[in-house]
Amino acid sequence: MRNRRNHTGLINGTASLISIALGLIFGFLLLLVFNASFAVSGFNNLMTTGFASSEKLAKVFYQSAPLLMTGLSVAFAFKTGLFNIGATGQYTLGAFFALMGVVQFRLPWWMGLILGMVGGALLGLIPGVCKALFNVNEVITSIMFNWIALFAVNLSINNMPLMLANAWGAINKDRTAALTSSKFMAYNPNATIPKAGLDKLLGSNYMNIGVFIAILVAVIIWIVMNRTTFGYELKACGYNRHASNYAGINAKRNIILSMTISGALAGIGGGLYYLSGTAQYTLVKSLLGMGFNGIPVALLASSNPIGTIFSALFVSYIQVGGDALQPEYSREIIDIIIAAIIYLSAFSLLMRGWIAKRLLRNQKDNTNMGDEAPAEPANEAESGVKAQ
């Protein structure tokens, strides 16, 4: 019985790897198209920069922490049959709550993270309630709440003088306080996530324990989903709401809980990024990409919480590598190339079906068990999007 799980894991893993390879080939083609003379060296940079120096590696870890959280957020919702496209809003509100905690209330960083979690949860709760009680599609609600969150946060920060950088000796007022400036350190020395000596080890300011917190959360989520009755209920509702109802599971409650937890995860991500001390929230009028990048992270991992760890690291790695393409390639083109790689990588879902088919075909006819014909192959398709 364990065999089947290994088998699924193998298929998912191979599918992701093939997709990544396809994505990289496509990325190389784009490099060729945009600037052929630098394509080979550029591709080399793209692929090796992340490992080239400990400093770059630190950056990979640093960026992967929030990515992992938003990816986990999307994956968790997927597993329970919901599409949380509101991760970016939840991430933004989480960031705001976390910053407010450490700036306005002089709380230590871990309290900030908890507040961030609460902020994300609040924003996840609303689409959950709308879905459960009024059957409003969570995609629509969470998209709208992305914008509501963004502008509410911008408005609030503008009206909180302490939050802005210029209150702490900097000149700009379009971003939040630099938590590592000497003035702020005197005000709240515990505002940033501890580095635990990792910064010295890797020789980079960016390095802190954030990525380990994120990995820990991913493991916890995996345990909840796969080992507890709560996870059993959530997945049952995700796969088949009617059958869950029939079995006496409170599907409405579970939809609300599921969206709330999903939001909380994204919220932690916001906290992890902006309490690092190396990032400042900038008041802009566009949604943050970190939330949306959670979607390919989740897809690439086939929504497996443990897989999310690796896919977040990969996406982060590619992004750090992309930065090294400058100045031969312009910023926008790098974004396009990275987007294309990530996009193709997320095709693992398609790949999975294909590999499963190949495996089945090649398998020997071991007649150990059963004499059943597989029933209704046509039905397999409908479960595709639900992301196993």
């Binding site: 006496g248 006819d365 004499d371 059943e372």
Partner: protein, 513 residues
């Protein structure tokens, strides 16, 4: 010119772990009705999928009119004039009847649909064969009977002359079954050849000319129906003698276990009640059957009893407990088990494994969880036990994803789960739907055993035979009301049929107890 229109010679089709078709030969004569008989999982559907081009066989060949043909996809099959009515209809719910019929072969002019000729042809066919349909009705608004006629018209519209019917009677009322049989005979008389997939022996005896029996992927033999009888066919199909009659001692009803008083269930679209003032009682140690034609409020009654919907008014008791406003979980804990009508929608989480589905109703009990963590060892132990006791067959045992199991074994899994909960009251809706005789026999025995174990059983079934052979008392539902109560032992199909069709009714009764 060959004697046969279609010959499938020595077909072998393998799936991982299974040989679904093992050297099967099936020859179809022109103008005959040829039945394909076999239990669930015997390989009938696979064989037909091979003929229809959905699967490619590893060995064997297909001949049409004596010439070898290669069928790579359903379009090839269509070109060879092979048409199929699938067990689960392949219709677009939000399209009209006419649109569904022409779908895929629609005529266009300058990119615009030309439906006039198509409409004329459909109406002609409809009249000629007595296939009443409303061409402009939407599929989602019409009943399964008419949906099936649409499927048949789809084949005729494409001028198919080899018609495959996959378990066509499973969804029909007795009257509709008779009609369908007549239509099939008409087709055969016109020279069309029919492959009729079924596991209902009576239907084969009634309509088929020849029958080919499959068992566990192997061809057991082809017989002339005139030379055989039900007992022989059943034995060939199952591999042993089958006992059709249900052996049961007279019931000894005890205290009331399930009491329903003046239950009303409304309808969203109509003012007419789906369940209208229904009162009855099921006692410990008796099986009460509810007979009725599909859509007369049986489903809604069951939903209200099990808590899936809220009744407008009325009271439901389990034993002494008023459960009218209790949650589903609370009802379960009070000993209510429910074998649901729709096993895919309600009965199973198809993407869960068999083991996970078998604990769907009791995963939260101390037996299967500790401090919120599932006890997987217990789950697998329990699952292995039920698989053994109920003979649930699947590719990978407990770890099989239920979606990949055959319908019959999915049903067995549900029955196993519900009976193992040791219920006080068992509500069984179509408990043997889509099952083969072997499994039916087994499940009927289990239900009678539950009764003899002093459980109360409410049996809702569209199969009149099932209601009559199992029930100690029979209630007949017509348009949301209970119109008659008959003793199981004395009921006749004719009498019940009159009540079921609304042609007759008893005076309004008082509920006992």
């Amino acid at each position: 010119m060959s004697e046969y229109v279609i010959e499938m010679l020595n077909i072998t089709k393998k799936f991982p772990g299974i040989i679904a078709n093992d050297d099967i030969t099936l020859q179809l004569k022109k103008g005959e009705i040829h039945a394909l008989l076999g239990e669930n999982g015997a390989g009938k559907s696979t064989l037909m999928s091979v003929l229809f081009g959905l699967y490619q066989p590893e060995a064997g060949e297909i001949k049409k009119d004596g010439e070898i043909v290669k069928i790579n996809d359903p379009n090839d099959a269509n070109r060879l004039n092979i048409g199929m009515v699938h067990q689960h209809f392949k219709l677009v719910e939000i399209f009209s009847v006419l649109d569904n019929i022409i779908l895929g072969v629609e005529q266009t002019k300058n990119g615009f649909l030309q439906k006039k000729d198509a409409r004329r042809k459909v109406m002609e066919l409809s009249e000629k064969y007595g296939l009443q349909v409303d061409p402009d009705a939407l599929i989602e608004d019409i009943g399964v009977g008419m949906q099936q006629r649409v499927e048949i018209l789809k084949m005729l519209f494409r001028d198919n002359d080899i018609l495959i019917f996959d378990e066509p009677t499973a969804v029909l009322t007795p009257q509709e079954i008779d009609e369908l049989m007549q239509i099939m005979r008409n087709f055969a008389r016109e020279g069309k050849s029919i492959l009729f997939i079924t596991h209902k022996l009576n239907e084969i005896m009634a309509v088929a000319d020849r029958v080919t029996v499959l068992r566990k992927g192997k061809c057991i033999g082809t017989l002339d129906v005139a030379d055989t009888d039900v007992d022989q066919l059943a034995e060939m199909m199952v591999g042993r003698k089958v006992n059709f009659s249900v052996d049961k001692a007279p019931s000894k009803p005890g205290e009331p276990a399930l009491t329903v008083r003046n239950l009303m269930v409304g309808d969203k679209r109509h003012t007419k009640k789906k369940v209208n003032n229904v009162s009855f009682c099921v006692h410990k140690g008796e099986i009460v059957g509810i007979a009725g034609i599909d859509g007369n409020g049986q489903s809604e009654l069951v939903y209200a009893l099990t808590g899936l919907t809220k009744p407008e008014s009325g009271v439901v008791y389990i034993g002494e407990h008023d459960i009218t406003h209790n949650s589903i979980r609370e009802r379960n804990d009070l000993g209510l088990s429910h074998i649901p009508e729709d096993r895919h929608k309600y009965g199973l989480v198809l993407d869960y494994t068999l083991a996970e589905n078998l604990i769907l109703k009791n995963y939260y009990t101390e037996e299967f969880q500790r401090h919120g963590f599932l006890r997987f060892d217990e789950m697998y132990r329990y699952s292995e036990e039920l698989i053994r006791r109920f003979d649930i067959r699947s590719g990978q045992g407990s770890a099989t994803v239920t979606r990949s199991m055959s319908g019959g074994n999915q049903q067995k899994a549900i029955v196993a789960r519900e009976l193992s909960l040791q219920p006080e009251v068992l509500i069984a809706v179509q408990p043997t739907r889509g099952l083969d005789v072997g499994a039916i026999e087994y499940i009927h025995k289990q239900i009678v055993a539950a009764r003899d174990d002093r459980k109360a059983v409410l049996l809702v079934s569209l199969e009149l035979d099932e209601v009559m052979s199992l029930s100690d008392r029979i209630l007949v539902m017509y348009e949301g009301e209970i119109v008659a109560e008959v003793q199981g032992s004395s009921a006749t199909a004719h009498e019940l049929g009159l009540y079921m069709s609304g042609a007759n009714r008893q005076a309004p009764m008082e509920v006992e107890a």
